[in-house]
Symmetry: C2
Subunit: 235 residues, 2 copies
């Protein structure tokens, strides 16, 4: 697992603070603050604050104007697909809503990714997918569906599927899948014994891709996500 936590440079921690504060509504849209205020609120120098504000600005979260200050922008203008922002919105009160949104994104992406993969994936990738799918079955049938290895295998399967789409925009969203799956386990929603049809669906995706059956691959992938989607709707 790559180290996702950013280097312990000053501006990163400040960015993290400000970002989460905005997301959680501590600093609501329309609220204004000057660089000088931010400066001594955080107890750092001008330069650091400016760099942080610049990043937030490039994410559409704030706007910096002369003579006015730094204004928090409404959520409608945020770059909600930015990985950092995705993470921030998974904390606090927003978490469940965010999980819903993310799962809907999966519902859109994974079936299409499977379709594209059926068209483009190499034989090796197909084998790898099938291998991961059968490992899921083995772990699941052993009653280990709620443990770390199952989660990791699941993540690997879906990341590979998205990558196999051959579209880097789709592949770049593997972080979304990772967050959803991890949160699911985290919230205790992952059963020790997953239903058998889940294994069938995963293997179905892999087999359909290997036999280049685009429609079937899409169907199975949809079934996989639908299961989680249903589960989440009940909450």
């Amino acid at each position: 697992m790559p180290n996702l936590s950013p280097a312990p440079v000053l501006h990163n921690s400040i960015l993290e603070r400000l970002g989460t504060e905005i997301v959680q509504g501590v600093r609501p849209a329309g609220s204004v603050i000057t660089l000088a205020q931010l400066e001594d609120e955080a107890g750092v120098s001008r330069t650091v604050i400016r760099e942080v504000v610049r990043i937030l600005e490039s994410m559409g979260m704030v706007e910096s104007r002369r003579r006015v200050g730094v204004t928090v922008l409404p959520a409608t203008s945020w770059s909600v697909l930015d990985p950092q922002l995705i993470r921030w919105r998974l904390t606090g009160a927003e978490r469940l809503a965010q999980l819903h949104r993310l799962t809907e994104m999966r519902l859109a992406l994974e079936p299409t990714a499977a379709r594209l993969a059926a068209r483009r994936a190499t034989a090796e990738v197909g084998i790898e997918l099938l291998d991961l799918a059968s490992r899921l079955r083995i772990l699941g049938e052993a009653g280990r569906g709620h443990e770390q290895p199952y989660l990791e295998t699941d993540i690997a399967f879906h990341a590979l599927l998205l990558a196999a789409s051959g579209n880097d925009m789709i592949a770049s969203l593997h972080g979304i899948v990772t967050e959803v799956l991890a949160s699911r386990t985290d919230l205790g929603l992952s059963p020790a014994h997953p239903v058998a049809v889940a294994f069938d669906n995963h293997e179905g995706v892999a087999r359909a891709i290997m036999s280049r059956d685009e429609n079937l691959a899409e169907q199975y992938a949809r079934a996989v996500v639908m299961e989680v989607w249903q589960e989440l709707s009940d909450l």
Copy 2:
């Protein structure tokens, strides 16, 4: 139309320059440059350069390390869904490849957006969608399919559709649709007289949403995007 062009502040123009240079391969992955070099290459002060590098860093395009300098990262780690990066990749040699990627994203998103809209959209939104769809028919049958009003109506239709999904992550991707449609007209691919089935499909989406038929809405939306997808595949 909101003003998308950034304020004419110094760091924005430098950002634009550096960003496109990286995207177009002028600065390949792995290439290293120091802040000092960038500084007098661009002829601006250190502060400006630092802010630019921070933004590129938050987009996963460069990495800044002590004692080494600023390293360009491989495309695999870029935030390819960042609106700025999307625009950059639509310039130069990357353009056609980017259009393919974007269309594939549409293929994933729009059918699901239609499905969600059928579940959630208000009656007003349904009416508005149908209105836009019939305007498309009127303009198209009048042989004005390649003109600006048609393009604008088309963009409005799809933006509203994505917004009606009720998922802000999906809605945030309307920029993608706008770019694809605009490029299509720009490249002269939009016929003066679009095929009649295109109007049927747009209206079909609107009507299915109004009658809350999720499956039908998804099907029609897929048909709409498929048409463009086919078209683009022939290039």
